[in-house]
């Protein structure tokens, strides 16, 4: 559960939520005398609550929409069974083998280079290429059919890349083309091991969602990173959490106040063979990978969009929303006004207080009239 100070700080990331939410519960009529029935009639408030129970725009972002089953026919069903046999019996072992071989080759090359090679520049270059190779192996292991559109990212200082986030494989898909540095949440298990050893070499910044002080530290690290021309270009997922690739949640402004160019990347997965959304509350990353590896292919489009700069008089939040609009338009997603971290925390009491304020003021005003 979030402490109130964490919740209060999350406020800084959000534009005025009231612009998006349904307006206050009371109808906007001219003040009349206040009667008993006006106070007793809580129907608008109850309706809002019931509406939220029945359907709400936040939970929709994390819903995996499973495709219609197509194997319901007498001749389609055996075909589907054959497909299952091929996918699980032939493809999966082959892919696992590829992955295993890839890891072995990678480690065999990476560790000697990392510990023995002294030349800083050459070592970085080789490590970068190795990471790119390893990501390509990953992509091959789920037969990734990825179309890249737009100019490839170049290694220049003073730029960051931002993309919408659906799964950790977003990172792998982008990394195979360009060795980005990333900012990531520290994970447990084998993923954490990889983060610590390998990703450090391309440049990684760690954050901890639950640590409030962490923000300042991370913001500084980001600023330092983009200044240094030797560092790999930085990739940031401003949503802060995985969303189901049909919606986007609010972008955190951290990436947009670094005083440099922001290059948007839009990623859209085609659900034709598998839904690439990683619902981290339902599945571990390992299970997610297994699901991808037992499907026919992962099909997706990646668009590298035009670099954007902070306009005069634009706040970081407005900048973030503008870039989000670009990505949403390109990838055909829908926007919701919620902070992704609401997955883990409760909303700030500020919004309830705002509703209370509006209601109280209306009551007091109408009382004056009578």
């Amino acid at each position: 559960m979030a402490s109130s100070s964490v919740a209060a700080d999350m406020e800084l990331d959000r534009p005025n939520l009231e612009d998006y939410l349904p307006s206050d519960s009371l109808p906007q009529e001219s003040p009349r005398n206040l009667h008993l029935r006006d106070l007793l009639d809580i129907s608008p408030v109850l309706t809002e609550a019931a509406g939220a129970i029945v359907d709400d725009s936040f939970t929709r972002c994390f819903k995996s929409n499973s495709p219609e089953p197509w194997n319901w026919n007498i001749y389609l069903f055996p075909l589907w069974c054959l497909g299952v046999v091929i996918r699980y019996g032939i493809l999966f072992p082959l892919r696992s083998l590829t992955l295993l071989v890839g890891w072995i080759v990678f480690f065999a090359a990476f560790f000697p280079v990392h510990f023995l090679l002294k030349g800083e520049k050459l070592r970085s270059k080789i490590e970068r290429k190795l990471v790119e190779m390893m990501c390509s192996v990953f992509v091959a292991s789920w037969t990734g059919v990825i179309k890249y559109h737009g100019p490839r990212p170049s290694t220049r200082p003073r730029q960051v890349f931002v993309a919408n986030h659906t799964s950790m494989i977003d990172f792998i898909i982008l990394e195979q083309m360009t060795a980005f540095a990333v900012i990531m949440q520290k994970h447990p298990g084998w993923v954490g091991f990889i983060q610590k050893t390998i990703l450090e070499s391309v440049g990684c910044i760690w954050f901890n969602r639950n640590d409030l002080k962490d923000r300042e530290v991370v913001a500084k690290k980001l600023r330092d990173h983009v200044q240094h021309p030797e560092n790999n270009p930085l990739l940031i997922f401003p949503e802060g959490t995985c969303v189901n690739n049909q919606y986007t949640v609010m972008f955190k402004k951290g990436a947009f106040e670094l005083g440099c160019a922001v290059c948007p990347i839009a990623i859209k997965y085609n659900k034709i063979f598998v839904d690439a959304f990683w619902n981290s509350k339902k599945q571990s990353f390992t299970m997610h990978l297994v699901r991808l590896m037992t499907s026919w292919a992962v099909v997706c489009d990646v668009w590298y969009l035009e670099p954007q700069y902070l306009k005069d008089g634009e706040t970081a939040i407005q900048f973030a929303e503008r870039v989000r609009d670009m990505i949403v338009a390109r990838a055909g997603l829908k926007k919701v006004p919620w902070d992704g971290y609401l997955k883990y925390n409760r909303p700030s009491p500020k919004h309830t207080e705002e509703k209370q304020r509006i209601f109280a003021e209306s009551v007091l005003r109408r009382l004056e009239e009578s």
């Binding site: 939410l21 206040l34 009667h35 008993l36 029935r37 006006d38 106070l39 007793l40 009639d41 809580i42 129907s43 608008p44 408030v45 109850l46 309706t47 809002e48 609550a49 019931a50 509406g51 939220a52 129970i53 029945v54 359907d55 709400d56 725009s57 936040f58 939970t59 819903k63 995996s64 499973s66 219609e68 089953p69 509350k281 919620w338 609401l342 409760r346 909303p347 009491p349 919004h351 309830t352 207080e353 509703k355 209370q356 304020r357 209601f359 109280a360 003021e361 009551v363 007091l364 009382l367 009578s370």
Partner: protein
């Protein structure tokens, strides 16, 4: 999760429909079941308080705590029954009854000044003092012909909220 209605038999749907007095169509019940399963993440058969509060729009509703006492731990049948009050086909009296129950949260059968004060407190928070709230309530009660220490029954409520245009409807999205 696969197609929701495959987990809900036709018999189940009809039973739920009967339980809510046919205020929802069968399609709406299937839709509500999908929603119920989505909210009941650990598939316990009911939605816990925590899971309701994970809906941001619900969590920031001023009356969420009172409503939680009514919806916490409901199974699917009762969940639908609760929501059926918000169907367009529900009667005016049924809607007033729900409002009454929100006030009379401990089910005494009558609403006291204390209950009215509590609900007003939830709705106004720190933006009105307790004296202001008591003052407002006493004034409107008196104007309507009730004293401060009277109790209100459901019939009183129906009489007071004599508002045929009462809009208390929620639409169930059908995919």
């Amino acid at each position: 999760m696969g197609n929701a209605s495959s987990m809900l038999t036709q018999y189940d749907i009809e039973e739920v429909q009967e339980h809510c007095n046919y205020l929802f169509s069968q399609q709406e019940i299937v839709s509500l079941y999908e929603r119920f399963c989505q909210l009941d993440r650990s598939a316990k058969g009911f939605i816990s308080e925590d899971e309701f509060l994970s809906i941001p729009e619900f969590s920031l509703n001023p009356l969420s705590k009172r409503l939680l006492r009514m919806v916490d731990g409901l199974n699917f049948k009762d969940f639908v029954s609760f929501l059926s009050t918000f169907s367009a086909k529900a009667s005016f009296n049924q809607k007033i009854e729900l409002i009454f129950k929100v006030y009379d949260i401990d089910g005494k059968g009558k609403v006291t000044f204390k209950d009215l004060l509590e609900v007003l407190r939830d709705q106004t928070g720190s933006f009105m003092t307790e004296e202001q709230r008591e003052q407002v309530l006493a004034k409107v009660l008196e104007e309507a012909g009730y004293t401060r220490d009277c109790t209100l029954s459901l019939d009183n409520f129906i009489q007071i909220i004599d508002h045929p245009g009462l809009k208390m409807e929620v639409e169930v999205p059908i995919d």
